[in-house]
Point group: C2
Chain length 243, copies 2
């Protein structure tokens, strides 16, 4: 028998402030870029200290929801709603090889699932949109001798979106930021990412053919090539890193 006794909480000022603020945002239909009331006004209206307001806003700022500009005001960076769910992820030592491999393992899991779902659920228009991104990417790949990371990313995003589940895009987008630093400094591997190129079209083909398992398989192959590149880069690096 689990007589559930949730711990009572006599104090939750910060959360109360944030809840009120989320309500305000919805009430006023504020979107990204919208300006929040001043800290002083919030403090007065909510009958709390300005200090408490600041702690609450610091929370939102840390979550990337708002941006504070001294002398100007506090602005929304994203859409906020009262029923948001936060999952702050912390990657220890995210700069090294191990951290990258770990994010790749997550990406492998999500990418495969997203591709499969996409093959099931994508509408005709979405499939056409994905193919457009693919064409753009292939064109960029040809004309710029392999430098197509931006277009590459847009292709994948289109697939995530067509999966019908926005969580895929959100999670992978967060990790993409981390990865992006490496595309700039490809670890000494000159043709980083080249090997993955052909699989973009094979993934698309399986999606267009409504073949979930095929799409999943091709996605796995793509990630595998990236992992190989990464390992090669790590091997190169190890020759230099003698400290």
């Amino acid at each position: 028998m689990t007589d559930f006794l949730p711990p009572i909480q006599t104090t939750a000022r910060d959360d109360a402030v944030l809840k009120a603020l989320a309500g305000f945002v919805r009430q006023e239909a504020l979107g990204p870029g919208g300006k929040l009331p001043t800290e002083r006004i919030l403090a007065e209206r909510l009958k709390v200290s300005r200090n408490t307001v600041r702690e609450a806003l610091t929370r939102w700022e840390g979550l990337g929801l708002v941006e504070r500009r001294q002398g100007s005001g506090t602005y929304l960076k994203t859409a906020v709603s009262p029923d948001m769910l936060h999952m702050p992820l912390t990657l220890a030592g995210g700069n090294d090889f191990t951290g990258l491999m770990r994010t790749l393992e997550i990406r492998r899991a999500l990418e495969a699932e997203a591709a499969a779902l996409c093959a099931i659920r994508a509408g005709k228009a979405e499939i056409a949109g994905i193919e457009r991104k693919l064409d753009i990417m292939e064109e960029a790949f040809r004309t710029r001798a392999g430098m197509s990371s931006e277009e590459d990313w847009e292709f994948h995003q289109a697939v995530y979106r067509a999966s019908g589940n926005p969580l895929f895009e959100q999670i992978i987008a967060a990790m993409h930021e981390l990865f992006h630093r490496f595309w700039e400094h490809p670890l000494g591997v000159r043709d980083f990412g080249h090997a993955s190129f052909p699989y973009h079209r094979t993934i698309f083909d399986r999606i267009a053919a409504r073949d979930p398992d095929g799409a999943r398989a091709e996605a796995l192959k793509l990630i595998a090539t990236v992992e190989d590149d990464l390992k090669r880069g790590a091997a190169n690096l190890k020759l230099l890193d003698r400290k």
Copy 2:
């Protein structure tokens, strides 16, 4: 050529405090559960206001790195290092049926991958630990007529940990919070979760047998049963929800 010119920052008190604190943690070799210096002491030592210290700690608290206990002190919840990378995710609207199904799709992708990796990488001790959790859960299931959500969760956590990639646990733990609300109010489905019960042992068997594909397959079956339960619950709910 990227001549790197980091923007000068006349004000970055909070970050400076956190950097100093991260250094302190490493210096003192503080692990999870470790106790940080008092806010007053930090303020004095770092020559900043206690308020500034609090804002910095609020950031870490929001990131889930520390826990503040009034009257007691501030404690580390996870390992922190100076080179951590944060990616806070906020998911909009996760409270309804659709949101739950979406988190389940993420969980399906990650659970399968984690089980497979676990079958490859888990050590003997870790496998023994998983089996212990499994035994506890099965015992709880028998004696409490199916109410074993807490033990169930611990089993899965053990699997995630043994996958060798802490990101799995972090991501799914965040989503678990959301799910937890439903275990309390099982949507009118009296035996919510019962169907998934036998698959816990089959997953473990495949892991112990070092069979990644088998483990993945069993994990997928488990998630499928949860999805079915959820759909049944939604169907029940739809009969009532006539507004």
